[in-house]
Symmetry: C6
C-alpha cells in the first residue's frame, strides 16, 4: 500500500496533522535516553507494521538495552500524543496504528521473549510453533494458562502506559518546540 499512498495528494489538513505527528516522534526521540540519534521511523512505509515488527529483533544492532526499548516505545507514541495535544481527542487519527502496533510488539517481546519484566521473570512465554513437512507434521503448541495470559496482558499494558505518560509529559513540557518544528 505504501507506494500509491505516498504518490497520492494529501489535503492541507493532513499535511499539518502529519507535520505535528512526525515532530512529536522526533522531539520525544531526542529527549529520551539511549535513543537512536538518527530518527528513522518516517522512512518505514505505513501499512506494513507487521513486516516491520518482524524485523525489529534483526535491526543492525547486536542487542538492545531495556532503556533503549522503553525509549523507542515512548518516541513511537510521540506522534499520536502530538495530534491529541494540538487537535484534541476527537481528532486523533488512525495514522498512529503502526506506531501502536510496533510499540505493543516491543512491549510484548520485552515481556514474553527478552525477559525484561520483573513480574513475568526471565522466561520465554513461547507462543511459537514449528512445523516440519515430511508428509507428516509434528507441531508443538506451547499454550500458557489463562492466568498467565492475563499476567502477560496486564504487564504489556503497564509498559505501554508508563511510556505513554512519559511521552505525554515530555511533549507538554516542550509544546513550543513542537510547534516550531511542525511549522518548519
Amino acid at each position: 500500500m505504501g507506494a500509491e499512498r505516498r504518490s497520492m495528494a494529501m489535503s492541507d489538513d493532513e499535511k499539518e496533522l502529519t507535520a505535528y505527528h512526525e515532530a512529536g516522534h522526533a522531539i520525544v526521540g531526542r529527549l529520551v535516553p539511549s535513543h537512536d540519534p538518527v530518527y528513522k521511523v518516517s522512512i518505514i512505509p505505513r501499512g506494513r507494521a507487521l513486516g516491520v515488527t518482524m524485523f525489529l529483533p534483526e535491526e543492525d544492532r547486536y542487542s538492545m538495552s531495556k532503556e533503549l526499548l522503553e525509549s523507542q516505545i515512548s518516541s513511537l507514541f510521540g506522534g499520536r500524543i502530538a495530534e491529541e495535544i494540538i487537535f484534541g481527542p476527537e481528532k486523533i487519527t488512525t495514522g498512529a496504528s503502526n506506531d501502536i502496533k510496533r510499540a505493543t510488539d516491543i512491549a510484548r517481546s520485552m515481556v514474553t521473549k527478552w525477559g525484561l519484566s520483573e513480574k513475568l521473570g526471565p522466561l520465554a512465554y513461547g507462543e511459537e510453533e514449528e512445523e516440519v513437512f515430511l508428509g507428516r507434521s509434528v507441531t508443538q503448541h506451547k499454550n500458557v494458562s489463562d492466568d498467565t495470559a492475563h499476567s502477560i496482558d496486564s504487564e504489556i499494558r503497564a509498559f505501554i502506559d508508563r511510556n505513554y505518560q512519559r511521552s505525554e509529559t515530555i511533549l507538554k513540557e516542550n509544546l513550543d518546540k513542537l510547534k516550531v518544528m511542525a511549522e518548519a
Copy 2:
C-alpha cells in the same frame, strides 16, 4: 452474489424498504460531524462485507479521525433504524447485515488496532498471525486472556450502542426529511 442480485427484479415492498434504508444512511451521514460529504455506501456491492471491511484501513485517505469513524458507525446504522422507525421492529430485515458487519469492524479496529478506546488504551490487541512458508512455518499466536477478550467485547458494544442511539435520535428528529427523501 452482487451482480445477479442487482439484475433481479425487486418487489415494490422491497423497493420502498430500500428507499427508506438508503435515505436513513444519507440523512444521518449528512448530520454527523466530519462525515464524508459524498455518500458512497450504496456503491459497495452487498454480500461482500468481508472484502469491503478488509479495505477499510486502505481507503484513499491518509488517516481517519476518531470523530469521523464514529460518524461512519452512526451513518451505517441509519439504514436499519429507518426500517425500524417506518415499518416496525418485526419488519427489520437482514438487508443491514453488511452495515452491521462494517460498523462492528470499525468499532473493533478502533478498540484493538487504532488505540481509540480509553478503556483498552493505546495498544494493539493483535489477533493476527504471520506465516512464512519455507518448507517450514513459524506462526505467532498472540492470544489475549479471556478477561481482556471480555473487556474488548464490552468496549466494542459500547461504541456501537452509543452511535446507534445517536443515529436513532437524529432520524426521529428528522422523520419528515426521511419521508420526503425516501418517496423521491
Copy 3:
C-alpha cells in the same frame, strides 16, 4: 446421499412418518405470518444441510424480515413436532436433523450477523476468518470472550424455544388438518 436415498424403497412406516413430517411443515408454514406461500423445504435434498444453510443468505430475496425468519424457524420444526404428536417422543426420528440445523443456523445468524437480538444488539459477532495466500497468509481471528459466547448460546436457544412452542401450539390446534393432509 440424496439421490440414491430417494431411489431406495421406503417402508410403509417410513412413508407414513414422512407424510406427517411434511404435512407438519406445510401446516405451520401456512399459519405463520410473512411465510413464503410456496413451500419449498421438501425439494431440498436431505443430508446436505450444510450446503443448504450456506445458501440461506443468498436466497432470491433482497432481504428477509425478522418476522419471516422466525416464521421459517417455526415451520422448520413443524415436521418434527408432527412426528412427536402422532407417534410419541420415543418415535421421534433423526429425519429432522436438517430442519434442526437450518433452524439453528437462522437463529444463529439472527443473533450474530443480522443484529436481530435485542440482548446482543446490532453487532456482528464475527467468527469468520479471511486468508489470502501470497506465499504468506494473514489470518484474522475474532474470538469472543466465553461470557459473550454464553450470551450468544442462550439467545439462540431462546429464539429456537419460542418458535418451537409456537409451532407446537399451531399443530395441536390443527390436529385434524394435520391428519387429513398426511393421509392424502
Copy 4:
C-alpha cells in the same frame, strides 16, 4: 489393519473372550425395542471405528427413531459387559473400543445434531466448519461456550450410563442364554 489382523491366529483365550463379546451384543440386540433384527456389528472390521461412525447417519434407513438409537447404544455395550460379567473387571479388554466410540458418537449426535435431548433442546450444536478454496478460504467456527460444552458432556454421559445399565441388567437376567450362545 482389518485384513492382516483377521488372518492372524487368535489364542484360545481370545477366541473364548470374543465369543462372549459377540454373544453379549447379540443377546442385548434381541431384547431391546426397535432393534435391527439382523445383527451386523461383527461384520464391521475393527480398528476403523472412525470410518464406521462417519457412515452411521447414512445407513440404509430413511431415519432412525430415538428408541432405536438408544437400543443401538445398549447393544453396543453388550459385548464389553459380557466380558466383565464372565471374566471380571480386571480382564475387560480394549476390544470394545470401537463399540465405545460408536455408542458415544450416537449419543453425541442425539444431543448435538438430532435434537433428541430434552436438556439441550432441538438445536444443532454445530462444531462443523465449511471451507471453500478459491485462493482464499472463509471458515465458520461455531464454538459453544464452556458452559454449553459442559451441558453437552454431561448429557452424553447420561445417555451412555442409562443404556449401559439397561444392557447390564439384560445380560445379568440372561446369563444362561449368554453362556449357551458363547459356547456354541
Copy 5:
C-alpha cells in the same frame, strides 16, 4: 535419530546407567500379572516414542486387558525408578522420556478411548478429527469442556501414580535381583 545414536560410543557411566535402566524394566515386567513374557521394549529405537505409541493399539494381539495395560505402565516405569534407586533423584536422566510418553499414552487411551476408567465411564472422549478433501473439507471438532478435561487429566495422573508406586515397591523389594541383573 536411532541409528547414528546406536553407532555412537557410550561412556561407561552411560553403560552402567543403561544396564540398570533395562534391568528395571525387565524385573518389573516379570513380576506384574498378564505381562508379555518376552520383553521387547529395548528393541524399540528411542527418540521415536510418537511412532511407537501410534502402533500400540495395533500390536499383534486381538485386544489387551485392563490388567495387562496397567502391567505395561508399571514395567515402563521400571527403568526410570531403577535409575532413581541406584543413582539418586539428581541423577535421573531424560533416558526415560519415551517410557513416560508411552505410559501416559496408554493411561490416556485407557481413560479416553477404551472406557477403562470408572470415573470417566465407558465413553470415547474423542479428540480426533476427520478431514475429507474434495475441494472443501468438513472438520468435526469434538472438544470437551474444561471441567471434563480436568477430570481426564486427574484420572490419567491417578493411573500413572498407582502403577509408578507399584513398580517402585517391586524394585525396592527386589533390589538384590536388580543389582545382579544389571551387573551381568
Copy 6:
C-alpha cells in the same frame, strides 16, 4: 541472521558487553555440577534459538541427568546476570533472548516430557500432534485443562527462578573472576 550479523562491526560498548556476557556463561558453567566441561554456547549462532532447542534432546549424549539440566539452565542465565551486575538493570539487553528461550525450553521439557518435576509427576503432558496425509488426516489433540496448564506454568517458573538465583549467587561471589575474564 547469524552470518551477516557476525560480519557486522560491533561498537566497543557492544564488545565489552558481549565479553561480560560470555564470561558470565563460562564462570557459571564451570561452577555448577555435572556441567559439560567444554563450553559450547558461543558457537551456536544467535537468532536461531528454535532450531537449537529442537536439537536439544538429540545432543550427542545418551541421556542427560536432572542435575546436568539444571546446571545448563543456570549457566544459560550467566550471561544476562553478568550484564545486570556490571551495567545495571536498565542496561540489560535483548542479547540474552536465545539463552532465555533455551532455558525455558529445557525447564518445559523437564516438566512436560522428562518427568523431572515432582509436582507434575512422571507424565508426558503432550501438546504434540501427528498428522498423516492420505487424502484424509487424523489429528490427535491432547489439550490439558486450564488448571493443569497453570500448574505447568508455575512449575516451569519455579525451575527457572531457582537456577537464576543460583547463577546470580555464583556470579556475585566470583565478581573478581568475572572482571578478569571479561577484560581478557
